[in-house]
């Protein structure tokens, strides 16, 4: 999956699951503010991302994820790691 495909998949998720207008997704916007999510929505986001991209999210990884761009980069990096290890990355 290319970087662009991953971003596209994430944006589809944002639109379908959180009913966000794609034109409102700014790279430097705060992730939680853009999605207007509470803790329950965040549970959904985490579970769906893990299932869709096949990796486990560790709590310490998310400390640095603040903006939409951070989130894209995080997912892209983890998918790349997965390709290199050849399977599910934990």
């Amino acid at each position: 999956m290319t970087r662009e495909e991953i971003i596209h998949q994430i944006n589809i998720l944002f639109v379908d699951e959180f009913e966000i207008d794609e034109t409102n997704i700014g790279l430097s916007s705060n992730l939680l503010d853009v999605l207007k999510i509470d803790s329950l929505d965040l549970v959904d986001l985490v579970v769906i991302i893990e299932k869709k991209f096949g990796f486990k999210i560790q709590a310490e990884d998310m400390a640095a994820v603040k903006t939409v761009e951070d989130f894209y980069s995080f997912v892209i990096d983890r998918v790349d790691q997965q390709k290199q290890t050849g399977g599910l990355s934990i």
């Binding site: 939680l32 509470d38 803790s39 329950l40 965040l42 549970v43 959904d44 985490v46 579970v47 893990e50 486990k56 999210i57 560790q58 709590a59 990884d61 998310m62 400390a63």
Partner: protein
């Protein structure tokens, strides 16, 4: 309806006095002194008194005199449990006896390496339940609100020094969500209370002792969202120096991915939680320790 204000009552002076008694005498002497302290709270804790009277008189249907004596017994029981906690922290384990019969339910799923979600309430002693957990080989993550009283966190931090337990604080930055997710992914256990919520958090209403009350939606949402065993756990002081651990048979709740299915599953889990909780309290009514007006209706 009044919500819990996020704080827990209990002064450091009071604790200090009882620690002194425990140190220089024994727990029976402390229990004796407690009998008078319990009267103090009847007189000087009017909000708690009112909420307890409502519980016993209106919800459990006790008459006036039985409601009054039940309030006294409740304060006394609560005080005893606090003293027992202090005694345990001081290493006086041999004072008490325990019935761990139900731990087999938890031991089995630990062996199966599934992880799970343990849901309890402010009934009996949540902290003494940690004693059950320390006997087992699982890794337990105790979820608690950051606003709780510092000395409770201090007590629990001692539990957390045991490598089998970790505390996950519920925070505004939602970092606890990632921690809970990671713990469950690692087949660990989440321990959480299902009977309190903070204002502005999503709640779900359900009949509880025949009147509508609100419960924290998130607790039961976690149980519905993650396909892991769910158990209800209580530590009840059944005799003067004896605790019984009640643990339900682990249960998986299947829900689909859509929000409607999950919502229905949340209701099922809450239904079973309340049925279990009502059963415990019908048998041990002096163990209800939510000292605020719990129900949706007028006080």
């Amino acid at each position: 309806m009044a919500t819990w204000d996020g704080k827990t009552r209990g002064g450091k002076t009071g604790y200090g006095i009882f620690i002194f008694i425990l140190k220089h005498f024994n727990i029976s002497v402390a229990y004796f002194v407690l009998r008078f302290v319990a009267f103090y709270f009847i007189l000087f804790a009017p909000k708690a008194f009112k909420s307890l009277f409502y519980f016993y008189n209106k919800r459990l249907g006790f008459g006036f005199i039985k409601s009054m004596t039940s309030i006294y017994k409740n304060y006394f029981k609560f005080g005893q449990i606090l003293l027992d906690k202090i005694a345990l922290m001081a290493g006086k384990d041999n004072i008490f006896t325990y019935d761990f019969t139900d731990e087999v339910h938890l031991a089995r799923i630990i062996e199966e390496n599934t992880g799970g979600i343990l849901i309890s309430a402010h009934v009996g002693s949540w902290e003494i339940s940690a004693k059950l957990l320390s006997r087992l080989n699982g890794k337990f993550n105790i979820v608690m609100m950051d606003a709780e009283h510092e000395k409770i966190k201090e007590q629990l931090s001692k539990v957390a020094q045991n490598k089998k337990s970790t505390i996950i604080l519920v925070k505004d930055d939602l970092s606890h969500v990632y921690q809970i997710n990671e713990a469950l992914s690692n087949k660990e256990f989440i321990c959480i209370l299902g009977d309190r919520y903070i204002a502005n958090n999503k709640t779900i209403s359900h009949n509880y002792f025949n009147e509508s009350a609100k419960f924290p939606y998130g607790v039961f949402y976690l149980a519905a969202r993650y396909h892991v065993p769910v158990l209800f756990v209580y530590a009840i002081k059944t005799k003067i120096k004896h605790y019984k651990f009640f643990v339900t048979t682990p249960k998986y709740y299947d829900s689909g991915m859509d929000s409607t299915s999950i919502d229905e599953t949340v209701k099922i889990i809450l239904d079973e939680y309340i049925e279990n909780l009502e059963g415990i309290l019908n048998k041990y009514p002096d163990h209800w320790f939510n000292y605020f007006h719990f129900w949706d209706g007028t006080k």
